[in-house]
């Protein structure tokens, strides 16, 4: 075999090095290592943290909450819109979480305007539907990027940060008006939880229907003002819901709203007009409440893209961004279990 001369050999080595460098470079580029400005899940979640850093072991947002279990009683009306088994008349088990928007698991109830519910419904065919909904009737901003900008502006020390944010994102004004005027309630059982994001329901014929959904309380709503709520104490909401459900199951009606052609599906800061067709698909019955520390909702990620066959994401950019951010938050908090030990572990720790 002819010995190749050193010239071509060097050229070959250089070629091999170039191939490997190109491969490694493409990988690093895809991973975002050359793009410090890319909005990653880590940056989005980081931006929620308070100045003193996040509460380790807890959800990075909606950190204060309490678990519940119960059932979803489908009445069959939703089956015309979606082929998912969850809309076939029947009773399906539920795990959920009442919470409010805060990065601090010890925040006082009256400090947050936005209450939420995480919900998982499981059907016998093995499908799972997860959703995380909030009490405002629309979202403060139109895009995930704008949400990131809002977080940055609220954390900024620059005196006119919020002002220039509002100038660039005029949709925030409607949310400000809602927050200033909407009545408060003194119970998780009296709040409406709105999905806000638009999804597609796929019916048996394969046709897609753009929808948003809400859970409307069946309990009578007794509005109170902010100061009266604050006087009830920092943890009133959790005490009250535990007591209330202990006395009687609490119920919500699942209302599915259908978009008219042309209604905005990609912008949760714009509510659809109230006259849109809606379908009452069933009743959520909450019959047990448990503390989060050892509760069944603790290690669940209420990722809004976990959907049964018969529901898909729409052109709304939020569910994808939320899914990515919630995954990151879930990864962080599950890895920090020692900072939020279960009570059996905590007891073992105190009894030598």
């Amino acid at each position: 075999m002819a010995q190749p001369s050193p010239g071509p050999k060097l050229a070959s080595l250089a070629l091999i090095a170039a191939v490997i460098a190109a491969g490694a470079g493409a990988f690093a580029y895809t991973a975002g290592w050359f793009s410090p400005d890319r909005l990653t899940p880590a940056r989005l979640v980081q931006a929620i943290a308070p100045a003193g850093g996040p509460a380790l072991g807890h959800r990075r947002n909606h950190a204060k909450g309490i678990c519940f279990t119960g059932a979803f009683e489908a009445n069959g009306n939703g089956a015309e819109l979606s082929k998912a088994q969850v809309f076939v008349s029947g009773t399906y088990p539920v795990v959920g979480r009442f919470n409010f928007s805060t990065p601090d698991p010890n925040a006082a109830d009256a400090t947050s305007r936005v209450r939420g519910m995480g919900l998982q419904i499981t059907t016998p065919d093995g499908q799972v539907w997860r959703s995380a909904m909030i009490s405002p009737p629309f979202f403060p901003v139109a895009t995930p990027e704008a949400f990131y900008a809002l977080l940055q502006a609220s954390a900024s020390k620059a005196p006119d940060a919020m002002k220039s944010f509002a100038a660039a994102h005029p949709e925030i004004a409607a949310f400000g008006a809602w927050a200033a005027s909407a009545p408060w309630t003194a119970s998780y059982a009296e709040d409406t939880y709105n999905g806000l994001n638009a999804f597609l329901f796929i019916d048996k014929s394969g046709a897609a229907h753009a929808v948003r959904w809400s859970l409307r309380p069946q309990a009578a709503v007794a509005p109170i003002d902010h100061d009266a709520l604050a006087k009830l104490g920092p943890d009133h909401l959790e005490q009250e819901i535990a007591e209330r459900v202990g006395q009687a199951p609490q119920k919500w009606t699942l209302v599915v709203m259908l978009a008219n052609p042309g209604d905005p599906t990609a912008d949760p800061s714009k509510a659809w007009p109230a006259d849109r067709k809606s379908v009452e698909a069933g009743t959520l019955v909450v019959d047990k409440v448990e503390a989060e520390r050892d509760g069944p909702c603790r290690d669940i990620n209420f990722d809004p893209t976990i959907l049964p066959d018969g529901i898909t994401v729409s052109d709304d950019p939020f569910p994808a961004a939320r899914s990515a951010a919630y995954r990151h938050s879930f990864n962080l908090r599950t890895a920090e279990e020692k900072n939020y030990p279960r009570s059996d572990a905590a007891q073992q720790g105190t009894q030598p």
């Binding site: 075999m1 995930p144 290690d299 961004a321 990515a324 279990e337």
Partner: protein
């Protein structure tokens, strides 16, 4: 019996098909975890689906290898390099099996339903457990990087055989003219 100087056609097809799939998986993996764009949702679904397809293909491939064997390495390849070639190939096979199992296992331990493209549901292979989730997720991520490093090394070695040693090893997988210049090791 004379041993062939090439991998069988089936082995070569599987090698190149899986090479494309695995490289795609590594890029999809690091791409999807660094984005919050709408493409995140289809990327993750593709990642899970292709990952499990790789598990199935890898099992078939190992069965085929047990039956068809491998062509011998050139006799003049120094023993440490022969060993490195063998061990790196075993490591690649191990990762093709381990990565999808870790992915499936961590999704199960994280209480996530495992739904593939087309709405296929896979059962959980582990009960929910946050500690196990963290462990498997960490392993999935670190081994993914080790996998990519090993693939780069493997490609460098393959090209080294093709361009510098010209000993027929590359052709044994690539097809083309079989090795006839160097006598195979017995």
């Amino acid at each position: 019996m004379t041993r062939s100087t090439r991998f069988t056609l089936l082995q070569r097809l599987l090698h190149w098909l899986m090479a494309i799939c695995i490289l795609a998986m590594l890029f999809i993996g690091v791409g999807m975890v660094s984005t919050v764009m709408p493409k995140y949702v289809p990327l993750l679904a593709t990642h899970k689906t292709l990952g499990l397809a790789i598990l199935v293909l890898a099992l078939i491939r190992i069965a085929v290898r047990l039956r068809s064997g491998t062509p011998p390495l050139p006799r003049d390849l120094p023993p440490p390099m022969q060993l490195a070639a063998k061990l790196s190939h075993y490591a690649l096979y191990a990762l093709m099996i381990a990565m999808p199992l870790l992915g499936w296992g961590m999704q199960s331990a994280g209480a996530y339903p495992v739904v593939l493209l087309g709405g296929f549901h896979l059962p959980a292979i582990l009960p929910p457990d946050a500690g196990i989730y963290t462990l498997l997720k960490t392993a999935h991520v670190y081994l993914a990087f080790a996998f990519f490093a090993l693939v780069l090394l493997h490609i460098a070695a393959g090209l080294f055989h093709a361009l510098i040693r010209r000993d027929g090893v590359f052709e044994s997988m690539a097809g083309g003219t079989p090795r006839n210049e160097t006598a195979p090791a017995k």
